[in-house]
Symmetry: D2
Subunit: 163 residues, 4 copies
Amino acid sequence: MRKKQVVVIGSSDETGFNDEARAIGRFIADRGYVLITGGRGGIMEAASRGASERGGTVIGIVPGDGLDEANRFCSIVIPTGMGHARNAINVLAADVIVAIGGKAGTLSEIAYARIHCKPLICCLFAGGWSAAFPEAAIDDYQGAPVVTARDVEETCRHIEKLA
Amino acid sequence: MRKKQVVVIGSSDETGFNDEARAIGRFIADRGYVLITGGRGGIMEAASRGASERGGTVIGIVPGDGLDEANRFCSIVIPTGMGHARNAINVLAADVIVAIGGKAGTLSEIAYARIHCKPLICCLFAGGWSAAFPEAAIDDYQGAPVVTARDVEETCRHIEKLA
Amino acid sequence: MRKKQVVVIGSSDETGFNDEARAIGRFIADRGYVLITGGRGGIMEAASRGASERGGTVIGIVPGDGLDEANRFCSIVIPTGMGHARNAINVLAADVIVAIGGKAGTLSEIAYARIHCKPLICCLFAGGWSAAFPEAAIDDYQGAPVVTARDVEETCRHIEKLA
Amino acid sequence: MRKKQVVVIGSSDETGFNDEARAIGRFIADRGYVLITGGRGGIMEAASRGASERGGTVIGIVPGDGLDEANRFCSIVIPTGMGHARNAINVLAADVIVAIGGKAGTLSEIAYARIHCKPLICCLFAGGWSAAFPEAAIDDYQGAPVVTARDVEETCRHIEKLA
């Protein structure tokens, strides 16, 4: 009954990997999965755009109070009014998480993915914490896998396997 | 782009007004609106069932951590891990709110509807706080309307007007 | 080891019952209890002022992000960054709750007091929801008492008994 | 008016660095600062014990609903009912943060420290993320300093300087 929910995390001001994020968003919609992001710009908007182009359901869980605070590609908006504490919710909403680059906000979501044992795909090609975390990680990856992807294609294969 | 989001609130252990909640859920889906509830049983489940029967998008924003904690009619589940504090999020996600009966949890959501100036439809026929609030209310209903409905039909007319 | 924690709730823009709130704050500190409020102005500030005058510990749990967002009588500030959703936390922090007047924000806290079975003292003399709730209440007050107070003295007697 | 608030973060099941955490807790209380932790066991309990021994104010901001869920050295308990999402609040409550070891929960708090530009002291001697983060960190430490400490004494000097 419930559709698989794929959460894409990454920086709101990233511009270098939008094509990749958009392609991943397209793949998520094509597979019939729901795309969930933090609803902001950058990577979140690019992935949302891709999923929206293929007619997918796109949910933005936003930090502010307003239904109008999400990027324009979201078909459904969940305002939390909780600021960055909403990052914990983004992660809980995931069957699988895709990290594309990212700074401190993304790192908090990676940490929550480990806390809640969610399968996590780290895009090595996008720099940021999605590249730095797998190397730095000090826990032993029990509970749920952390996998790495070198390109969009490998990311999509992981999504399909882990969702 | 974004679809209208109707939030139905009411008790998780209510049994007397499930037919009405289900009919309202059907109406919401028939109009192409997204139904959002707290994802639990009782009124939430009955409304979700109605919307699901008509192929609508049904979101459950649940208090617990798990994707499996919502009733079976939800097509998308947002676990918050925040317990009853998630009631604030339910309300923020609304274009319009429909209260059907309800106890203290519903009262907290009615209060948040007033705080965030959300249009609120109180079902007088269902008892509980949806009947008691309009009479007790001490604020002057500025910001957004509080309207009352005597039956399912009047409730649906209000939804259509306020969404 | 832990000191008793008394939470005072009421409107941030109330001006008519500040003397009463301040007297109640003094009593709380004199008894060695910790005073907790939402950290804003109005009733919260007046109660904090009273407790501060007697050297009490005064905690403000504020909706915003900043340590400087509380009234100046708070000795400790807990910023939540969660907006009004922090009302749920205020209530959970209570051994006993004192409602002095109040609008929709206070009503949400009264509702959470019922959800979490916290002893609740409603000041009838202060108007607002602290006067309107006991009359409107439709639940049967199981789990924890809801008591009413006609003046500051009766409020303080209830605090001492219920804390 | 407000006292300085020092937040100590670290694992709830850590046993190897309790003496160090306790000594740091003692220092915090001796300086007249308020100690805030997540209220659980391990590092949090050890630091709370130290501050409590010196008569300090010790606050536990706990994930659960109950006033009785904190370790026994807390003089004040703030239950959030939000699970691990309360980590965002712990960080917001800090004038300065001390990380002693730690796993994924601590990493989420380190991430929030960067998001909210809070001064962060990373104890290199305690292993875990407090040792791994400074090396892995990919942001440029703008906004607020990240400093490292090789022993308890250096940690205390940093606390005094940054609080």
